[in-house]
Symmetry: C2
Subunit: 252 residues, 2 copies
DNA sequence: CCCCCTTCGTGAACGCGTGCACAAGCGGGC
DNA sequence: GCCCGCTTGTGCACGCGTTCACGAAGGGGG
């Protein structure tokens, strides 16, 4: 096959009149902005500047402006951003204005914790089903929801219009569960199992691996101790996400 | 436009005898390799090629080789990597050979799930303490561990040599907890609270926000539906992490 | 009515992470 | 003993994400 794709001309330019596509990293930050803006609105703020918002979200002010620019012109030039308007704008773009039925596969520690977690419902993610392969877990009630057998997965997805699935099973079952989710119509998967899942194009997957996060921290500790400031001028920016002290903690 | 720094000779080499620093993204993948290699060893494999390992971990083969090259020469040229040797090498670098006492702050749904999670202990992360500010939760036993009052945090960290802290509290308490953790000697924090925490230099922080992950998926769904492939040639690589089918699923 | 201060939006540069292609080198077969 | 195939390790280029710096524009004070 052609060595090195000849770089199709125009690939850089997305589409002249097409709607902007927002990079994942920016989408994640927009979600953060949405949360802190909700708090700010409750606290009585009508407008915020990019600098204020940056302080609340723990990022750079330039970053805030660039992220918000993906939404089109949303701010007033000498004033800042209207909190209410901005919340609406982000909500529409991220789909937070509607309800997203979610199915959780696996009623273990993590699955149950997620089913109980209020933070999900607060952002429009309704746990429409919780299934488990273990018959002894079926029927138990978790967070006002009965655990259903794994066999009910497909019917449940179709009936309740589920578009997002959460895999909270052991690694060995992850791929099979993913296949069934996709076959049943799920288009987005959040995978907590420590195993990679392959999905066909058009399906989104995001992976969260708790042990992996701790391993990265562990590595930082090993580095910090084995070479206790032996060479480096500064300990790298391994930490300290450039967050200024900010006297008042996010309005708690 | 070659103003681009003329590449000072020797600048590429960090330090002749100095240990190489590994980017966080690579460290995370090394953790994944460690896990799949453990499985492979149990399954009887003595050596693996970068291509095999890539298939198991769900990444590119080049990526595997580049990541492993951070560890120094670890492979045999015509054969591949010795599984046992590689496991040892990664384990040392990531600090998986020792035990890391961990304290979990917040005995809510998530905190309890983490305390029960066996995947942590399997990688050397021992939950040395579980504390909560709510008096009604103190004394309850979770995963063979009694919930202790928040006041016991400092003593517990000092006594059990805790270096890693996990914040599983509401957002409003996150910064205060982080400050106390750092003051008590914790050098690495895993933050599950949906709020940014500021720490002094030298302390590592990683953040996991469950609702945020779902919001990113939600955004993908919104985009996929509002513009049902009306323009893009391909749906972007929004998903499909370049994982080839790979007939034999990771041992399942 | 004019001027200055504030603040957004964005073009450009920098650095990082990712993927490709190739040279170097080891092991097995004949 | 020699050759051939397989696999590692790495230089290189591309694209993305982040940050800086500046032009444009609106509001308030004199």
């Amino acid at each position: 096959m052609a060595r090195r794709a000849p770089r199709p001309a125009g690939a850089t330019l997305p589409a002249p009149g097409g709607p902007r596509r927002i990079p994942d990293a920016a989408v994640a930050r927009l979600g953060t902005y949405h949360r802190v803006l909700t708090d700010a609105l409750a606290a009585g703020s009508c407008t915020v500047s990019s600098e204020q918002l940056a302080g609340l979200a723990g990022v750079n002010a330039s970053q805030v402006r660039k992220d918000l620019s993906y939404l089109g012109p949303t701010g007033t030039l000498g004033v800042g951003y209207d909190v209410e308007h901005l919340l609406g704008r982000i909500g529409v773009e991220l789909g937070l204005t509607r309800h997203w039925p979610v199915v959780i596969v696996g009623a273990g520690n993590l699955g149950r914790a997620l089913a109980n977690y209020r933070g999900l419902a607060a952002r429009g993610f309704v746990v429409a089903g919780l299934v488990d392969a273990d018959p002894t877990k079926v029927g138990r009630t978790v967070g006002g929801l009965a655990v259903e057998p794994l066999e009910a997965l497909e019917g449940l997805i179709a009936e309740r219009r589920v578009r997002i699935g959460v895999i909270a099973t052991p690694a060995s079952a992850a791929q099979e569960v993913a296949d069934r989710l996709v076959a049943a119509g799920v288009r987005a998967i959040l995978n907590f199992a420590p195993a990679p899942v392959g999905v066909p194009p058009g399906v989104s997957v995001r992976k969260v691996d708790l042990a992996l996060e701790l391993q990265v921290l562990s590595y930082h500790q090993v580095r910090a101790t084995t070479r206790t400031r032996g060479d480096g001028t500064h300990p790298r920016r391994a930490a300290a996400p450039a967050l200024r002290p900010d006297p008042r903690g996010a309005g708690r």
